[in-house]
C-alpha cells in the first residue's frame, strides 16, 4: 500500500464508476461523500450511528451503513448504492412489490430497506416472516409499522418460488 496518503485525495468506485475525491476533512463518512460530493442523494442520513439503516449500501457486496464507513477507507472497494439497482425505465421485483404492497409512505427509509432486502433475498430467497423481520431489524421505518414492507418481501419471495418452476427471469 502507499506509504503515505498525506495531502492527496483518493478514488472511490461507486456503481462501477471511478471518482476522484479531493482531500478534505478526514472524518467525512462514505454517506457524506456519496451525497454531497458525488450527488448520489438516494442514500439517506437519518441517525449517523448505524441504528436506522437509511444509508445502507453494498461495499464489496456486503451490506453496510455508509454513515459508519470512513470515506477514505472505501477506496479500492466496490460501492453499490440505490441508484444502481435498476435502470432508468425499470424496477426490480422488490421495488415493484414495494409499490404494489403500499410499503412506501414518506419514503425516507425506502432506499435503505430496498438495498437490505435485495441483499437478504440473495441469500435467503424464501424466508419466513421472522427471518424477514430480523433481516430488516436494522432499518427503522417510522411511517408504516413494517406491515406492508414484510408483505412486499413475501410477494417477491412467492414470485421467486413460482419462478423456480421455469417462468421468465430476466436477472
Amino acid at each position: 500500500m502507499d506509504k503515505d496518503k498525506r495531502s492527496t485525495g483518493y478514488s472511490l468506485s461507486v456503481n462501477d464508476t471511478s471518482h476522484e475525491i479531493s482531500k478534505s476533512w478526514l472524518g467525512e463518512s462514505l454517506l457524506y461523500v456519496l451525497r454531497e460530493k458525488l450527488g448520489l442523494y438516494g442514500s439517506k442520513n437519518a441517525c449517523e450511528q448505524g441504528e436506522c439503516g437509511s444509508c445502507s449500501v453494498l461495499m464489496d457486496g456486503v451490506l453496510v451503513c455508509s454513515c459508519l464507513v470512513l470515506a477514505a477507507n472505501a477506496t479500492g472497494r466496490d460501492i453499490k448504492t440505490i441508484e444502481s439497482i435498476s435502470d432508468d425505465d425499470s424496477l426490480t421485483d422488490v421495488q415493484k412489490a414495494f409499490v404494489d404492497a403500499g410499503a412506501i409512505q414518506c419514503g425516507f427509509c425506502t432506499p435503505g430497506l430496498l438495498i437490505t432486502i435485495h441483499d437478504f433475498l440473495e441469500t435467503n430467497p424464501e424466508p419466513n416472516v421472522l427471518e424477514i423481520r430480523e433481516a430488516i431489524s436494522g432499518n427503522l421505518c417510522r411511517c408504516t409499522g413494517y406491515g406492508r414492507i414484510v408483505e412486499a418481501v413475501q410477494i417477491v419471495s412467492k414470485q421467486k418460488s413460482v419462478g423456480q418452476g421455469g417462468s421468465d427471469d430476466s436477472s
Binding site: G39, G42, N45, I85, S86, K96, G107, P111, L130, G145
Partner: protein, 751 residues
Amino acid sequence: MTVVKETVGIRQSGIGVSAVRPDAQEKVKGDFIFSSDLSSEGMLWGQTLRSPHASAKILSIDISDALSISGVHAVLTADDVPGENIFGLERADQPVLADDFIRYAGEPVAIVAADHPEVARKAADAIRVEYEIFSPLVDSYAAITAEAIHPEGNVIRHLNILHGDTEVVGDVVVEGEYEVGMQDQAFMGTESGMAIPSPDGSINLQISTQWLHSDQEQVATALNMPMEMVRVTLAGVGGAFGGREDVSMHVHLCMLALHTGKPVKMIYDRNESFLGHVHRHPARIWYRHHASSEGLLVKVEAKVILDGGAYASTTSAVLANACCFSIGSYSVPNASVEGWGVRTNNPPCGAMRGFGNVQTCFGVEAQMDKLAKELSLDPVEFRLANALKSGDTIITGQKITGTAPVREVLMSLANHPLPEPPSDNILERPGGTGRTTDGSHVKRGVGFAASIKNLMFSEGFDDFSEARCIVNDGFIAIQTACVEVGQGFVTLVHQIVQEILGIEKVDILPADTSIGSAGSTSASRQSWMSGGAVMKACEAVVDSLISDLSNEQGITFERIGTVLVAPDGSASIPVTDALQGRNYDETVVHRHAPTVPLDKNGQGDAHVSFAFAAHRAVVDVDEELGLVRVVEIATSQDVGRVLNPIQARGQIEGGITQGLGLAILEEIVLVDGKIQNANFTDYLLPTAMDTPTIEIAALIEEPEPNAPFGAKGIGEPPVISSTPAVVAAIRDATGLDLNRVPIRPEDIALG
C-alpha cells in the same frame, strides 16, 4: 436480481380503490428529492449553536474567533434578526435567537454559515457565550405557582369543563393517577432545507414542513419583510407526525442567505433534531370515575397537567383536546375536568399525532377497566353499555350530529379471533434475539381500549383550504398548498380527479405559497379539507363546463359519475370528452362548518367531527425480567368511508406502531431539563422485530354527513387507543397497576 420491465403507471382509480402513490416510483429508485437532498451552486452550510443550559442568562457572546475561521461566511446572533425576534404557532412567544434568557437546553443562540458543514460546526464551537446559570424549573405541577420563567407567565392555559351535576356521586367510585412520558415524533428525515436569496431582495425558502403559510407568516415577521417577499416551497418531507408544524430552522436559513447573498443549506443531525422540534406533552392526570351499580357512568372528575416546556407552541389546543375528550368514547351525563398547560424549562412540547387525546386516553381507558373490574363486568360489555352514539351530547355540551359507530367498532373487534398461543421459537418470545426467555416464563395478556378523536381544527379557528384546478386542452393540473408528508394526499388528488372528471393523468403542481393556504397537514384534516377543496375545484370546472355547454347547445347537463347527462336522458357525454379543446382555471376555498371557542365552563360547539377506534392487544410478558413482546394488535376503526384501502391500512399499521412505542419503548429522558437520549441508540423506536402482526377486524363505513365523500380522517385514531390497549394487556398478564407509560422492564420486574 429480477428486473421487471415495467414502470409505475397511474391506475384506473377513483375513490375507494387502492391507487398507487404517484411518487412511488421516484421513492423506490432513490430519486425523490427530500429537503436534505437539495443542492445549489455555491451554497453554504448552516449550523446552529444551542444553549447547553436549561435556564440561564446570556451575559455575553463573542463571535470573533468563529468569524476568523477560514471558510466561515457569517456568524449571526439575536442582534442580527431583522424583524421581530419572536415567533410561535398559536402565539408568538419564542425568540428566533435567544437575546437575554435561555429557557430550555437546546435553545438556539447563534447561527453560522460556512463552506463545509464541519467548518460550520467548528465555527459554532468557537463562539464564546458567557452564561449566568440558574436552577431550571422542570416540575410541571410546581410550575403552576412557581415564579414565572417567561414574561407571559407559566400557565399557558387553564381550562375548566363543568357539565351537568358536578356534585352527584356514583354507587361505585374508582380513582387513579396516570403519567405519560415525553414522546418524540422521530420522523426519519431530520429537519432540513435551503434558503435562496433573490437579486430583488426576496427570499425562497425550500423546506420540509407541515404548514407552508404559517411558516411564511412567521418568517416574514421575523425578517421584517412583506409576505410576498417570502416564498415558501415544500421540499420532500421525510415524515412529520406533528413535529414539523412549528418553525425550526426557517428564519435562521433565511437570515444566513440574506446576509451572505448565497444559498444556505441546513440539515439537523439526529441529536439536534431532538432539540429542534417540539415533542408530545408529558402529562400527569388524576381521575375519579363514578358509575351506577348497573354499570352506567354517572360522572367523571379529572385533573390534567400538560408540561408545555419553555414555549407555548400548540399547548392551548393540545390541552383542550386532552380535557374535552378526557371521558373517552363514552357517554357521561356529568363531568368536572380541570386542566393546565404549563411552561417549564423542559424542551418545548406541541403537536404530535393524537394531539392531547393520547394522554387522557391512556388514563381514561385504565379507569374504564378499573370500573369494570369493580362492577364485575366484562370490560368490553361495560364499554358497550356506555358507548357514545350519534345524537349524544359530549361533556362540552356539544351534540354529536355526525356518525358515532362506537358500538360497531367495539363489537367487531371483540368478535375478531384471537391469535395462536405463544411461539416455541425463543426469538419470538419477549427478549427476542437476547434469548432471555424460556417458554415457562411467558404469560399472555389481552387488553382492550377505545378512543375518540376530533377531526380538524377546533374552537373557532378559521379552518380552510384552497385548491385550484387547471384544465388546458385535455391537460389537467391541481394546485394546493397541502403538504404531503407521506400520508398519501397526492394519491388522493389523483383519485378525486378521476372520480369527478374521469381524467387519468393529473399533474400535481408544487405546494407553495403562490396559492392560498391549505392549513396544516395535521389533525386528521387534509382528506376532508384539501381533499374537499380539490373536489370542489373539480366540481367548479364541471359547473363551468355545464354552463358553457348550456350556452352553446341549450342543454343543461348534470354530472352523474364522470358523465354529463341531459335531464331528459336524451344526450350524454363523458366529462373527459366534453373538456376536449377547452380551458378552465378554477380556484375554490373549502371550509368546514364553523366552531366556537369553549366558554368559561368549557361548553360550546367547539369541534367539527369525531372519529372512533378501538384496539385489542395481545402480549407475551416475561414477568420476572419485565420484558414484553406484543404478539398482535387488532383494531376496528370508524372511517366514514375508505378512500384508498392500502393507504388506510398503512396509516393504521404505522399509527399503531407509534402507539406501541409509547406503551413500552419511547421516551425522551430528561435530567434537569437536559435530554439524556437524543439519539436512536437510546431513544428506542420499534424495530420490525418489535412490531406485531396488525389485524384489521373492521373498518366501519358509515358516511359522515358534510364530509367530502363521507370520509373521516384516519391518521390519528390508530395511535390513540393502541397505547392503553397494550398496557391493559400487560396488566392482564401481570396484575400490576402500571400507571405510567412507557412501561420499562423494571416497572414490571420490580413492580
